[in-house]
Symmetry: C2
């Protein structure tokens, strides 16, 4: 779905480099504060190339959100948290994985689409919707494991797999907000620990 130009969409094209630059810069400065020139400079591309590939700055925002969805989908599909045979173990392994990849600089592990959605949700509905597709699409990938775990463990409490999957994303996003506000990644990990504990409680598992 990566806007496959007829010719060569191979890695390293100007379009791709711009989208990759957007991931880094927008996560660090936000979308509005990121200028077209910032992106061109980082991607080593001229303005003409930028507007050849994107009709406007907002159009790049949409494309960046879509690109983020693609890359993260691939990243999470290849992650090792799918390995356990027990579905609940897979869910808990997901949380552990999300916690484990919190490392280095804040802009390296926080979420592009969560950041953008906060900023532009009212002024750029197109971007907001693209961010929404990314977040909720990712949440949906957790539903099957949660549903299987529910069935396997005979859980009948009144919460749904869809709802828990979304809540997990909310905790992750909220952890990022606090980590940024406190300038401390540990704050994000802390909330993941609470999320882990919550899920164990939901499935009646001791510490």
């Amino acid at each position: 779905m990566s806007r496959p130009t007829l010719h060569s969409p191979e890695r390293g094209s100007a379009r791709t480099r711009l989208l990759e630059a957007a991931q880094d810069i927008v996560r660090a400065k936000g979308f509005a504060a990121t200028t077209v020139d910032d992106l061109c400079r980082a991607a080593d591309v001229t303005k003409g190339a930028f507007f050849h590939h994107f009709a406007s700055k907002d159009a790049l925002g949409v494309a960046a959100a879509d690109f983020w969805a693609e890359t993260t989908t691939g990243f999470f599909e290849a992650a090792p948290y799918h390995d356990p045979v027990d579905p609940l173990d897979r869910v808990l392994a997901y949380v552990a994985f999300r916690k484990a990849i919190i490392a280095g600089d804040l802009a390296e592990f926080t979420c592009l689409v969560g950041t953008m959605a906060q900023e532009v949700y009212t002024s750029a509905p197109d971007i907001r919707d693209a961010c929404g597709r990314s977040i909720f699409g990712h949440a949906a990938t957790l539903e099957a494991d949660i549903a299987d775990a529910r069935q396997e463990r005979g859980i009948t409490d009144d919460w749904t797999p869809e709802s828990l999957a979304r809540h997990m994303q909310a905790v992750i996003q909220g952890g990022f907000v606090l980590a940024k506000a406190g300038d401390n990644p540990e704050l994000a990990r802390e909330s993941m620990d609470h999320l882990d504990r919550y899920i164990r409680h939901l499935f009646h598992i001791g510490g």
Copy 2:
């Protein structure tokens, strides 16, 4: 601490009107996308007045975060969730209160400092720190009730009142992010329900 000018700091001054305008506009458009002219127009104030009261746009950002901390502190102090005699009931009443005030437009109930922190955490450390003070200061107001509830209920599990208080804020902030991304306030309420369930589990309370 509201910069009490010697003369008349009475409500309705240009400075206050600008800070109130900032609450509305920044929550809707984000800080970077909010222009000084936007604020002056909304506050019915000239640019001269703006830069008389604030040395720069960033300085207004800091003042807006501080102003937010003041107003929300008063708002939550006056809220009814403090009434229950049982400390755990107060904690749960807080969550119920946070859920209850989710109404109307997204920009009306979402958090100014959470939004700003996400945007400027790296480009404007002063604003980020002011946002952090607001968020973590508010979280701290919950710690006493949580600690009392822990003691009263004989809970000795390995989580701290400080940590839970922060996690509660993370869930709230994350709920706002999802509500914006999905353009649906119900998504924020949904996470509050999970938070309520988590706290009940932590204190070994049935549905």
